[in-house]
Amino acid sequence: MMDIVTMSRNSMSQPSPIHLFFKRLFRRKLVFIATLVLGIIVLAAVLAPWVSPFKPDAIRMARRLKPPNDINWLGTDEFGRDILSRMIFGGRASLGIGAAVVLLSMSVGTVFGLLAGYVKGLDALIMRLADAMMALPDILLAIFLVAILGPSSGNVVLALSIVYAPRVVRVVRASTLVVSELPFVEAARALGVSTFRILRVHVLLNVASPILVQATFIFAYAVLAEAGLSFLGAGVPPEVPTWGTMIASGQQYADDSFWVVLFPGLAIVLAALSLQLIGDGLRDMLDPKLRKAL
């Protein structure tokens, strides 16, 4: 009887897990605002051809370096191109590169982190390699790698993934060490479950939350680093609009025409800040020790 009562209550009135997830995440106003801001930026980038007022590469030398006005809301650059339109299209490259770096560094880092944390013999090897890579400053290592690989969007993704993968390895390894000592992993081993399945089902599922949190941080770092690389001329070729290349090519006009660099810079700050705040929110929510305080 009891069971029927509790089961029907579960299926009827309990909100879905996804609903609950966002309800808890948005309990902090700042996280909600950050999600909103990021949502707008992402939406604008995805819908760029429809929402941008001008073509991003439409040159009108007659209207070069105009301050923000009622036609070009955020002004024009040195070729008379509309800053807002370039920012909207630039978001595609910046966010796209960020997302690709997250995907690549996460998958590589997770695999090596799981192996380092679970297979005793591989731990020292993988971690010393990761330490060696982390000992170099991020941007220097990235510049070095792009210099070797050649400047292109794909190579920037590759270089930044190599730079950030060791961070993922560290986080995943630490969580794996904790989880693989738990009795349910021991129980699986006592059953003769394969190592592959233990890692996939028993370890990975239980280290997913720190990985998710790390993903948001790496997204933010990657957006910043892409801008930095492009600014230094070691990133995406300058003709491709990204927030970083816009600042790079506009810097020499910044003294008289601040809007050329201010607005792309603002886009970078807003995107990175939102991602960091969302990451913080996720971490606090998923950390059971902090969960009660929220």
Partner: protein
């Protein structure tokens, strides 16, 4: 005694730590017959859980031998252990950490069936049967571990162990994390299942009363070494080792008219990093003499199957 199911001989385990070598288990030997319940008792740190893990080869031993059904388990390569994994299973102490919180009960028990390709054509039914066997319901299969109480979770853990139809179950303090009222239920369940399937049981516990209730034979461990071993009845009623006596005296008895004098042992168990010379118990033994520091007492026979490791025969020299 019939041909033993499990033979553990001279088993040792040494952990290399940053502070030196830690001898967790040293020279432990015992046998368990098919269908027999064998108890391992001792204080925390006595190496009893380590022995359970060594027997299942969840950790590698440093010396000695484990034979199961005539086969040397510790000599097998990992990939050849699978048949053994279906024969010997474990029930864990912490019911909250022994079930993967992300899996439904169906998948927790199902994993055992899938790994050994058991009942694949009637998987759902079999999971339901196993749940009912341990006193739960078929409908519980769709739930997650956090929806259950500690006792219910322990039942799920037992169902998982039973899924592969083992001959031996190692129960590592299976009730010490549970309320007393629930403890009795789980003990009864283990006893029922043992009778029903002829399971052998290696019962690891610090609770002498439960061991007396459940086990036919018992070994008393101290600092990784066997102090006394024999039929539970003999060991409990006529303990020959001072440590066994002290343990029995320290365990509370619901008998107001019983002897009041308690000979409690003082202090803590010494560090296994630096065990005392000779007899490891001598630092806390009320009867220790100079011989105890020099020579390690070997197990000696008291009666058929009852052995103890002490230089002095308490019974013959009278009560000290």
């Amino acid at each position: 005694m019939t041909k033993p199911l499990l033979v553990v001989s001279n088993l040792s385990k040494e952990f290399v730590t940053s502070k030196g070598r830690l001898r967790a288990v040293e020279d432990v030997s015992f046998e368990i017959a098919a269908g027999e319940a064998f108890g391992l008792v001792g204080e925390s740190g006595s190496g009893k859980s380590t022995i359970g893990r060594l027997v299942l080869r969840l950790i590698a031993s440093s010396g000695g031998q484990v034979r199961f059904d005539g086969q040397a388990i510790d000599a097998l390569p990992e990939r050849k252990l699978k048949p053994f994994r279906a024969q010997a299973q474990m029930v864990f102490q912490d019911p909250f950490a022994s079930l993967n919180p992300r899996l439904r009960v169906r998948d927790i028990i199902g994993e055992a069936l899938d790994t050994h390709a058991i009942a694949q054509d009637r998987r759902t039914e079999r999971i339901g049967e196993l749940l009912e066997m341990v006193g739960l319901q078929k409908a519980h299969a769709d739930r997650f571990p956090h929806e259950f109480s500690g006792g219910q979770r322990q039942r799920i853990g037992i169902a998982r162990a039973l899924a592969v139809e083992p001959k031996l179950i190692i129960a590592d303090e299976p009730v010490s994390a549970l309320d007393v009222s629930v403890q009795a239920q789980i003990i009864n369940l283990l006893q029922d299942l043992r009778a029903r399937f002829g399971l052998a049981l290696l019962f690891i516990s610090h609770d002498l009363d439960i061991v007396e209730l459940l086990c036919e034979r018992v070994a008393v461990l101290y600092l990784g070494r066997v102090m006394e071993i024999g039929p539970t009845e003999r060991v409990m009623r006529h303990p020959r080792h001072p440590y066994t006596r002290a343990l029995l005296a320290a365990s509370p008895k619901a008998d107001p008219d019983g002897p009041k004098a308690r000979r409690l042992i003082m202090g803590d168990i010494p560090s296994p990093l630096d065990p005392p010379s000779g007899c490891v118990f001598r630092t806390r033994c009320p009867q220790a003499q100079s011989l105890c520091a020099q020579e390690r007492p070997l197990l000696r026979q008291e009666q058929e199957g009852h052995q103890f490791a002490c230089h002095f025969d308490l019974a013959r020299e009278g009560e000290i």
